[in-house]
């Protein structure tokens, strides 16, 4: 349409105002994308969880342990096809700020239960044969610039002293949602030193991971496992991996809810910014619209002008905001990467960002457009400048 040229001329008319509006929109859409991505990150663990795995922890709290000896009884439960265990190590690397998850795991069984961690066979073989070997995720290795064969020292916080390791494996995730930021050391390396230095702390694990063949029996099997240890010193709590992960989200649920509300408010703010610009624009151009109508332009043309301009500004702002989200995400990832193991901007977030800005573009133009169309020509012409 020939009116398009007028749209672009109108848009660049108050260049600074247009640019500021676009910038405001871009920052808001960027914030929207980052907030949504953070919310997604909270749920990433739950999304990546397998329905074939149950997690057994101490019924009182995650911070209490279970005797390793429980494994014999759990393994005998009908329907259990695999069993392993993991224990939170909690060491620091150089600086306490360098937080990342470290698990001492049973080297013989653990990785069999997690087919989503892809490890080259020779690396796995070395892990099985060397007591101080560790396998780390690709993202974690990149974060600290580690490569195979690097010696690493962690300072224990729960288990005091210096702990020497060698990087022997780097795993990658089979899925986009797979957590690539973990550290797996051998449980026997930890346990043997405990037996020598602090015997009461030996033979304790944080959780058992139970592989089951039939996810539909998860609830019943969980109850069976827990019933085995009723009235013992350490009662158990067995749940699916998903609900185990969601219990972490639940701990932060008010934060997540807050973030969701903020992300909606951000859209509201864009609407105000653009609506304000469009209202100013419409007010300034009353006499121009009246002139165009005098010349024979019809409401459809005027609507095209106003909606065209609003959608153009909103569209550019939206695309720019999405573009900005990637470097900002990268900055956040490199600075607080350990906190959110999986921090990816999902396609749906990008689409929502664009759709939201276009919707804002439409809504912001409605009132100015109606006003421009409804103002009688003679009234519009009476307004000079």
């Amino acid at each position: 349409m020939k009116v398009l040229k007028l749209v672009s001329k109108n848009t660049t008319r108050h260049l600074l105002r247009t640019l500021l509006t676009i910038l405001g929109l871009a920052i808001a859409v960027m914030a929207f994308a980052i907030i949504r991505t953070s919310v997604d990150a909270w749920y990433a663990g739950a999304e990546a969880s397998s329905p074939n795995r149950l997690v057994v922890t101490n019924n009182i709290s995650l911070v209490f342990t279970l005797p390793l000896a429980y494994r014999e009884k759990i393994a005998k439960v009908d329907g259990v096809t695999g069993l392993s265990w993991a224990h939170w190590f909690g060491g620091t690397y150089v600086d306490p700020k360098n937080f990342f998850a470290q698990f001492a795991v049973d080297h013989n069984t653990y990785l069999d239960l997690y087919p989503e961690y892809l490890i080259p066979p020779q690396q796995l073989a070395t892990f099985l044969s060397e007591r101080n070997a560790v396998i780390v995720g690709r993202q974690l290795a990149d974060r600290f610039g580690w490569s195979l064969g690097d010696p690493i020292t962690l300072t224990g916080t729960i288990y005091p002293g210096q702990w020497e390791f060698v990087i022997r494996g780097i795993y990658t995730g089979a899925e986009e949602t797979t957590d690539e930021s973990q550290w797996f050391m051998r449980f026997d390396y930890l346990d043997e030193r405990m037996r020598a230095e602090m015997p009461p702390r030996a033979g304790q694990v944080g959780s058992f991971i139970v592989q089951i063949a039939d996810p539909s029996r998860a609830a019943q099997m969980s109850a069976t496992i827990d019933s085995l240890f009723v009235n013992s010193l350490a009662e158990t709590k067995t749940q699916t991996e998903e609900s185990f992960q969601l219990s972490f989200v639940a701990m932060a649920s008010s934060i997540v809810t807050g973030l969701r509300i903020v992300s909606i408010m951000v859209i509201g703010i864009i609407l105000l910014v653009l609506a304000n610009t469009m209202a100013m624009t419409a007010r300034e151009r009353v006499s121009e619209y009246a002139l165009m109508k005098t010349l024979g332009f019809r409401p459809i043309h005027i609507l095209g002008l106003i909606f065209g301009e609003s959608l153009f500004i909103a569209g550019v702002g939206g695309v720019l905001g999405i573009g900005l989200a990637f470097p900002v995400k990268w900055l956040l990832e490199t600075n607080v990467g350990g906190f959110f193991p999986v921090f990816t901007i999902e396609a749906i977030t990008l689409m929502l960002g664009i759709v939201a800005s276009l919707a804002v573009g439409l809504v912001a133009a409605v009132f100015p457009a109606l006003k421009a169309v409804k103002t009688p020509i003679v009234d519009g012409l009476r307004i000079i400048e």
Binding site: T294, G296, R298, I377
Partner: protein, 232 residues
């Protein structure tokens, strides 16, 4: 010249402010032949602009008929009226009303965007219109790069580019200095003589009114039946 070109029959117009009726035009009757050049004069607030707007089809009478070339303008729907205006009317305003974001060329081209003319046909017509007003060398200038007189001449080019039968000018020299006003008046005279355009022009300026064939006076919404030598 059997039928009048512009005919107003018992035209009344009132504006309403809240529930208060403000009568503006009172039983106005007018017959203009084709090729006429009329100066419409009268004190401020007497209803000159209102009358012009009714003839231009950008406002409707409260009662009575506005008939242009046999077409009862007051009976047309909004959409038909818009098309009718773009086909028949050229309007010139006191403050030019050019689009500030468009060049002189683009301003003159604006009404042609509603026609089916090709780009090159539009170009030819715009160039012709701009050369008639003597601004062929200012096509790429924006309104703020032109003097008031030049702006008004661009506006006149815009009014004639569609080759309308009727040109309506509301105080076209009202905002101009003497020299520019003279140029604009010469131009309107030429459009009337050379191109046989029918022109109705509102003016307060007796010198401008002299250029017209006839002068009509409006006072408090009443159109004097005969031309008067006096100027408002």
């Amino acid at each position: 010249m059997s039928r009048p070109f512009v005919q107003l029959q018992n035209v009344n117009k009132s504006y309403w402010r809240d529930s208060l009726e403000i009568p503006v035009l009172n039983d106005v009757n007018l017959d203009l032949p084709e090729g006429e050049f009329v100066a419409l004069m009268g004190p401020s607030g007497s209803g000159k602009t209102t009358l012009l707007n009714l003839i231009a089809g950008i406002d409707r009478p409260s009662s009575g008929n506005v008939i242009v070339r046999g077409q009862n303008v007051s009976r047309l729907s909004e959409g038909d009226l818009a098309r009718w205006r773009s086909d028949n009317i050229g309007f010139v305003f006191q403050f030019y009303n050019l689009m500030p974001v468009l060049t002189a060329y683009e301003n003159v081209e604006l009404p042609l965007l509603l026609t089916k003319l090709s780009r090159s046909e539009r170009r030819r017509q715009v160039e012709t219109a701009l050369s008639i007003v003597g601004l062929a060398d200012r096509m790429k200038h924006y309104p703020n790069q032109l003097s008031g007189g030049q702006e008004q001449r661009v506006a006149i080019a815009r009014a004639v580019v569609t080759d309308p039968v009727l040109i309506l000018a509301d105080e076209p020299t009202g905002d101009l200095d003497k020299v520019s006003a003279q140029e604009v008046m010469d131009l309107l005279s030429r459009l009337n003589h050379e191109f046989n355009k029918t022109i109705i022009m509102v003016t307060h300026d007796p010198r401008a009114a002299e250029k017209a064939h006839t002068q009509r006076h409006l006072d408090k919404g009443v159109l004097n039946s005969h031309e008067s030598p006096q100027a408002g």
